[in-house]
Symmetry: D2
Subunit: 363 residues, 4 copies
């Protein structure tokens, strides 16, 4: 297992859901960067549960500590290590699950991979809880990008079978994105948003869960970031997105829908606006040949429904080698999508910053 990622920026994730703590070490940050603890806390708060009926009632205080890399509230250039202590652990809830493989979870695959030595409590190293340090690293990355005029934002494109309209990928302002950043349940269309919330609440009532799709946009990225092949913007962002628990699909620009079009429809025509090269449409999501073209970057991330549900499920007990019925207790999210927003943005911010640092070294 390698929980290390990145080339110019390198992050090293650690922790398990019910162990002493979780965290991340970040290498490659410039020295002298001001640490905005309020901003970091706001980002963490965005993924925190327990805020409403839409999420688990489990409390995760998620107070972070910076163990290294910061002196007098500025980065020193040395590796920055964030630590969050685990609290409010109800490890006993999991003891009886030890040998019973929860469907949709990593219990079985982890057991095989790690020969049964994995920490099975609360999903261990597979827990969505590990997105908290990702969000911490992402908060640093977003701040750096922000200083370069780059803004990220997301809306909930859909929950269950409800869908709202995607971003207008041609005309998209940073203020729209920042406004979305500030909201607990970011949607473009409030009515659709209500329908989505209803779906979540109903799922909760039914001891069930629902999935959904996030759409994320990045504005202010100059043209020329990324590379063909293995360092394409799509490759880098998708790599990190698919590391977030529950993500099963990623598309850039119009993605799968592009596959239904003709070239004459799909190609975004170039034109000049005040001497700057622009495209009249933006079906490619701001990326051509793996490199940004200066238009807003857009992508969608599909989440499966939370696998932890209260309903009775069929599965196996690997100690007794028997088929059994399982009813998961405990406090779980009926839908992970709203809480996943900062993690998805963190993934994109980290990928872009890594590519940006690559570009900058050539300047």
């Amino acid at each position: 297992m390698s929980s290390v990622w990145g080339e110019y920026l390198k992050i090293s994730l650690f922790g398990e859901s019910h162990g002493p703590g979780i965290g991340v070490v970040i290498n490659g940050l410039p020295a002298g960067l001001e640490i905005d603890r309020d901003y970091i806390n706001r980002e963490l708060a965005r993924r925190a549960p327990g805020k409403s009926k839409l999420t688990t009632s489990r409390q995760e205080k998620d107070e972070f500590e910076i163990l290294s890399g910061v002196f007098q509230e500025r980065t020193t250039g040395a590796p920055l290590c964030f630590l969050i202590r685990n609290e409010d652990k109800r490890s006993r809830d999991y003891e009886e699950l030890k040998d019973i493989m929860r469907p949709g979870h990593a219990d079985y695959t982890a057991r095989v991979k790690y020969s049964g030595f994995n920490d099975y409590r609360g999903g261990g190293a597979f827990s969505g809880r590990l997105t908290a340090p990702l969000v911490l690293a992402g908060a640093i990355a977003k701040k750096i990008l922000s200083a370069k005029g780059i803004t990220l934002g997301s809306h909930i494109l859909g929950i269950a079978d409800i869908r709202e309209e995607p971003f207008d990928a041609v005309c998209l302002s940073s203020s729209t994105l920042l406004e979305l950043n500030a909201r607990e349940f970011p949607v473009l269309n409030e009515e659709k948003g209500l329908l989505m919330k209803e779906k979540i609440i109903r799922a909760r009532e039914q001891q069930d869960s629902v999935g959904g799709v996030l759409e994320t946009a990045v504005v202010g990225v100059e043209a020329g970031i990324g590379s063909p092949f293995f360092d394409s913007v799509e490759s880098k962002i998708a790599h990190l997105l698919f590391s977030i628990p529950g993500v099963k699909g990623v598309e850039f620009g119009e993605g799968f829908a592009l596959s239904r079009l003709k070239g004459s429809q799909a190609n975004d025509a170039f034109y000049l606006q005040d001497g700057q090269v622009k495209t009249t449409t933006n079906r490619c999501g701001g990326i051509l040949g793996g490199i940004t073209n200066g238009m807003p970057l857009t992508f969608k991330t599909a989440f499966k429904p939370t696998p932890s549900i209260g309903r009775i499920q069929k599965t196996v007990n690997l100690a007794t080698r028997q088929e059994v019925e399982l009813q998961i207790k405990g406090r779980h999210d009926p839908c992970i999508v709203p809480r996943a927003v900062p993690a998805v943005e963190a993934a994109a911010a980290l990928a872009l910053l890594d590519l940006l640092l690559e570009k900058e070294k050539k300047a």
Copy 2:
């Protein structure tokens, strides 16, 4: 730009469409592996154009040479370097395009990134031609996987707005996949296949192009391959898939459709078959927590329509800084999807082999 990929297996891609040659260096191969030149040539032939009306009439002989790493037709353990010389180049076709940015292509983004020093002829380093060395590396990887009982295969799930049924992800045999491997236009439903071909031929007649979607499956992968987070099976495969020119969407298992389901529908129930853990459905595409669960691995790859079309398009000339109309001449694929099959399989095979080598080292 880094055209180096991989951890335990490392590949280093090189070449430009109209330069002297293209190739790949592969590190980390076991010594003693027999080189099956016929098999490699068959894989190369699968992506070769000029075979029918469905592809460009451009001939790419694509004869490969092995420069190192093979002695007496077996791998030596040293880096294996494949070289394909470029031939049938009509570089003049591109001279007049030098300053005119082809929509949907990397002309503009490459020009910005490389300050105009990129080899613009035929897309240079951004050309789909670079998938030939990827297919060579993939042929080696597929052979190694094959010896471990792992088989990859794909079908064309859709072209333009035609869609056929996806694989039955629960009951999927290696013989079905191998049969698909042998076909030039692999589909599960011949009638749908005819409709798809029609779409391609019509697009060609209209000097236009169409996109499509491939579905790929891998059978015979044991449970326990992959990791949570950055080395998840999804992250590794998606990273390589998104490096293939034209790919704009990737989903695993039921992907985006999963986002519309409830947990009680999406979770694949475990059961025991002859003492082996199986799932009754396989919506997750054989991957839980980033690790294979022993069920067939399935994913879909969405391709945008080939951006090179004969129709008149609006764009800009960056030498004169004027908006212009462009009509691309030359011989182009009306649809890249059928030729992309071996590249997609190469990506998956390389990603899986890299993860498999990681697993084996722990044994």
Copy 3:
């Protein structure tokens, strides 16, 4: 700055001398490994100061905590994070040194590299204190190697101008090495050892310091570990050794002395012993072509004298841009060599384990 190292085993170091804590994240450990806290503590104790007149009187309790990767006292396969809290910090000692560049230290180079934002207290991220987490990671590596029959050990070959005889690189037992492991001042020749200690004590009295050389041996390494070129045993070990503060020279086998010999003297003749290939001499230090040959692996590491000395030194004040005289106060090691033993062994153990995991994946 990248404090991440390794291919199959990946370590990520963090911390600064006077910050909240120092630590290391280790990726790639096999699951199920028993954690021997006593052994780890013994390794840490070997580098701990304050034990005698030979070292600084500064106390570093160095109690480690495991934040992740261990469950029920066995590794889980997830990243293992070690944390040591910093204590007994006298940060004020350094406040007045802020702008005065200590000769032989990284004060000036760090200030330039990090634009003055580096944590200058106690050497910050450059401190020898960072070898504590290296020793922690090394303790884990040594335990794994030990289970494979591999033993590392070192003796102090020289302090100042005193030199004792090197290891007999042909006949070298693990028991000799283990015995050296247990000693605070490991030498082969006690008389020479006394002379060396005298040199250190005299240096201390003179408010000065001395350098020295360690020789390290590894027995039980099978033939076939390593690679030509960039993964040569020498490259990997030297890379880590030269990351230890104060190391200025590394040689394998007879090293620099080999350069004075003829080929007929330097070549180690092969012979067969009970069917096993051995060499009659071992001038190459057990490595040919970057790969182990099964004979004991030996290397020497040269340390410069501790740069912190009480004597008056000439230097510059970069705030006033003036040349000044400096007298360093505080508690410093008159010689770092004895305390460096476990760090050097950790470097070698980590490098060898990384290469061993590479080899194993081929099996």
Copy 4:
């Protein structure tokens, strides 16, 4: 085996001594760099044999071809691939050696590592011939450094037991270094040089070989390049140096000799010269805390004697499992040191360029 090296600059080496060809792929070069083929050829010529009695009479024409990454004689930003075809191969010389392990060579270790599948002819992937592509990559790196005012140069510090004086590490001009670059047998003291040559010629007459030491200096490197720990200047340079066949020792500044000094002697005092920070001595070789301090960077590289000698040697035949006597025929270098100069400089140039690109990205 990984023949891939580097972070910001990535090189991928390939080839075997008697295979079709050898080469290197370089990633991370800036676009627009002029390719100076004359310069590259001069660098290659420096390592070419057959020029005098001091080297093997074997002719290696070493004509390089650039397969990618260059367009209109400038780098494109895409990976640059150099290829040298192997010629003048006398593979039969090696057929009879197949099972007889040459002492001092990698025959035995390679056979074990690669289970006998390695290309044993001429040392295969272990051959010093692989330093030719390293020199090609180094020529590109040296040119880039040169444009930044950085010059590398070396002299032969010693052959067998002859030693000349080291560089004056405080006062060292680029013109001195460039002058040394132009010489076939670069020494500072001609008389000593004659004695060294005599040693080589005598060794040749005696069908023996000799080792030696190179000293290399780099002037014009600004302060602030490198990092503490794993990206220290020493770690990076030593890693590459120890990948050169025959290197058994590396020291920076006064290296091993520093271990004999007191801190008051070893510390280089800082002073101000025209407002610039300098040191009065330069015992540390221009590196403090792994980072350059702006003074000349100096290091020494120890080579063992060429293991190929005509004298009768004792060894084993692994086919018959018998001890045998071996007399190596063929044309071999009585001393590799003079031909190793450009390889050593290439290693240093590549390491420094990699670190420089890291620094630049922060600017």
